[in-house]
């Protein structure tokens, strides 16, 4: 009998199916998609698996195209030195890109989760229903803005603003914090980690918001009403009934959001500065695994070693996104939120 709050048991496993009209026998007890029996039984019906077959093809073709040659532990080292004239001295260490990906996606996700928790809670609990409906549509629409448009906006409008106003101000105010102590030369162009984080945050918010919102909404109405009928305020019902019920969706939203952020290529490439070095502050130009893949591809055409290295980066990125999505989808499962392009 500790601090109150409600602990959902396994029996009230998260949101009910959105497909309320399906014959009850068909998905009353969804089988665990991860069990071996499920996997074997399922092998018999390929038509429903067309999307899955493409996924397998992607993994297969990338594995086939990678030669796993020069990439022992050195692959995760810091030295990225492609050398077309003398391949024997070339080194392919992707540490800096891994760091770039982790920093941009990580920070963006923290910010995005804070924002989307506030937004999802507002939508589900606090806003009157007409406003909530309009704003729900609006946040869903944001997911549709193409990545390349965020990129050009970031490059043309935000980069000068960051370099002249925001970066100096941040450095001045927060310079004592590690990561904010950059020198003016670093934010000269405005592109860099901070701008990439900013753009990524805005791009991830619609997805995480939709996930959190739908899992909060999936709580049976009677539960919420019972809480209110006991004289709890809206916030108290949220904290003691809704959040415990939807609790498991939060780490899932984090993972799915991370998958989205770490794979984002085009917009990040346009604003991150694309420098191959260890970032010394958040103002530094940097690169991520995804921007590396797009930025160095042109030079890899006639240059097999580099191409193989890039394919291995692609495989690593694919593995990360598969793991992250697989774990994240355990909660949202096949019920994924399909609406308006923000779906896992």
């Amino acid at each position: 009998m500790s601090d109150g709050g409600i602990r959902p048991g396994a029996a009230q496993d998260g949101p009910r199916s959105r497909r309320g009209a399906v014959p009850a026998t068909r998905d009353r007890i969804p089988p665990n998609p991860f069990s071996r029996r499920t996997l074997l039984r399922g092998l018999s019906s390929p038509v429903g698996w067309i999307p899955g077959i493409f996924l397998v093809a992607i993994v297969g073709v990338l594995l086939l195209s990678s030669h796993f040659q020069n990439f022992g532990l050195g692959f995760f080292g810091p030295a990225w030195n492609p050398n077309p004239t003398d391949p024997s001295v070339a080194t392919y260490g992707i540490l800096y890109f891994v760091i770039g990906s982790a920093v941009t996606a990580g920070f963006a996700l923290v910010l995005a989760m804070l924002l989307s928790l506030a937004i999802a809670i507002s939508l589900v609990v606090f806003l009157p229903s007409p406003a909530s409906r309009v704003l729900t549509s609006l946040t869903d629409l944001l997911a549709g803005i193409p990545s390349v448009v965020y990129g050009i906006w970031g490059y043309v409008i935000l980069a000068p603003y960051f370099s002249k106003q925001l970066d100096p101000a941040l450095s001045h105010a927060l310079g004592w914090l590690p990561g904010f102590g950059g020198s003016p030369t670093e934010y000269a162009g405005g592109t860099g980690l901070i701008l990439a984080i900013f753009i990524l945050t805005i791009m991830v918010v619609p997805l995480t918001t939709a996930l959190l919102r739908e899992s909060l909404r999936a709580i049976p109405r009677e539960q919420v009403e019972s809480g209110l009928a006991l004289g709890a305020t809206r916030w108290e019902v949220l904290r003691r009934v809704q959040i415990p019920w939807a609790r498991r969706s939060i780490p899932s939203a984090v993972l799915l959001g991370f998958g989205r952020a770490v794979g984002e290529t085009v917009a990040v490439f346009m604003v991150i500065g694309n420098e191959v070095k260890l970032p010394t502050s958040l103002f530094s130009g940097s690169s991520t695994m995804a921007t590396l893949m797009v930025g160095q591809f042109d030079s890899a055409f006639e240059y097999p070693d580099l191409l193989h290295a890039l394919v291995e980066v692609a495989l690593l990125l694919l593995a990360i996104s598969l793991v992250v999505n697989l774990v994240g989808l355990r909660y949202f499962g096949s019920r994924g939120i399909v609406r308006v392009g923000v779906g896992p």
Binding site: M1, G4, G5, I6, R7, P8, G9, A11, Q12, S129, P220, E222, Q223, E225, S226, G227, L228, A229, L230, G231, A232, T233, E236, R240, V241, P244, W245
Partner: protein, 270 residues
């Protein structure tokens, strides 16, 4: 707003009452509820005496559930338009200065289906007490007191930490009642509390209601006329959103004043 706390009940609409007007604890006057343009309730004026059980009967769709949900401001959550007044201890609960949270603390509610939270039995009952940030001791006391009042204590005293969902349907419903009682409301609204229960569980809940009226004022909605006859001191008959008759229960069932009531209780429709 008519009459401060402790003032006389409003005259408006509450006509001849089958009990002295000084006994009124909760009353509605000209309560009208609309969903869009459709009128669900039309000018329903009713009064409920303290420490008695009042039943509201009527055929499905007559608005009886909506009516009780108006009595503790739950109806507005569904986006219904509510006009008219509901007075609790002489004060209109729909006054702008009155907070629904406070209203719901004073006027508790039990729903059709048991809506236990997916936590332990103890935590379910403690829900309302924890909101008040009461001390551990007070919470413990409140939980025991409420479980005893709901007649559940003997059955669950060894299992307070077990999940509430492991209880039977009847026990769950009594747990919900205990949970509502824990907040110490003055009135307990019950919306068809036994409609999902078997006869034995129903019997237990009815026995409990009988005990409850020693301390509480109970308003129970039911479509089961026998139940109304068994537990209620007063009974109101609602038909198509209007109040047809409100009488002492025995009076209403034995010699109804209105033809409509007679038709309904003799089973000619509904």
């Amino acid at each position: 707003m008519s009459g401060g706390p402790g003032g006389p009940p409003p005259a408006g609409g509450v006509g001849d009452l089958p009990f002295p007007s000084g006994e009124v604890l909760l009353s509605s006057s000209r309560l009208t509820v609309r969903s869009g343009t459709r009128e669900i309730l039309s000018e329903v004026s009713l009064a409920f005496p303290r420490q008695k059980v009042s039943a509201i009967i009527g055929p499905s769709g007559c608005g009886k559930t909506t009516y009780v949900r108006c009595l503790n401001r739950m109806a507005e959550l569904a986006g219904l338009t509510i006009t008219g007044e509901v007075h609790y201890r002489g004060r209109n609960i729909y006054d702008p200065g009155v907070n629904p949270v406070q209203v719901r603390r004073r006027i508790g509610m039990v729903f059709q289906r048991p809506t236990v939270f997916p936590s332990s039995i103890y935590e379910n009952v403690a829900f309302g007490l924890r909101l008040e940030r009461q001390s551990r001791l007070e919470v413990d006391r409140g939980v025991v007191r409420s479980l005893k009042r709901a007649g559940l204590w003997e059955e669950v005293r060894e299992d307070l930490d077990r999940p509430a969902l492991a209880l039977s349907g009847g026990q769950q419903q009594r747990l919900c009642i205990a949970r509502a009682l824990a907040v110490e409301p003055g009135v307990l609204l019950m919306d068809e509390p036994t409609s999902s229960l078997d006869p034995i569980a129903t019997q237990k809940v009815e026995d409990m209601i009988y005990e409850l009226k020693k301390e509480y004022t109970v308003v129970i909605v039911t479509h089961n006329m026998q139940q109304a006859a068994r537990v209620a001191d007063y009974t109101a008959f609602l038909y198509q959103g209007r109040l047809v008759e409100f009488e002492e229960t025995r009076q209403l069932f034995e010699s109804p004043q209105e033809k409509l009531t007679e038709n309904y209780i003799t089973g000619r429709f509904g």
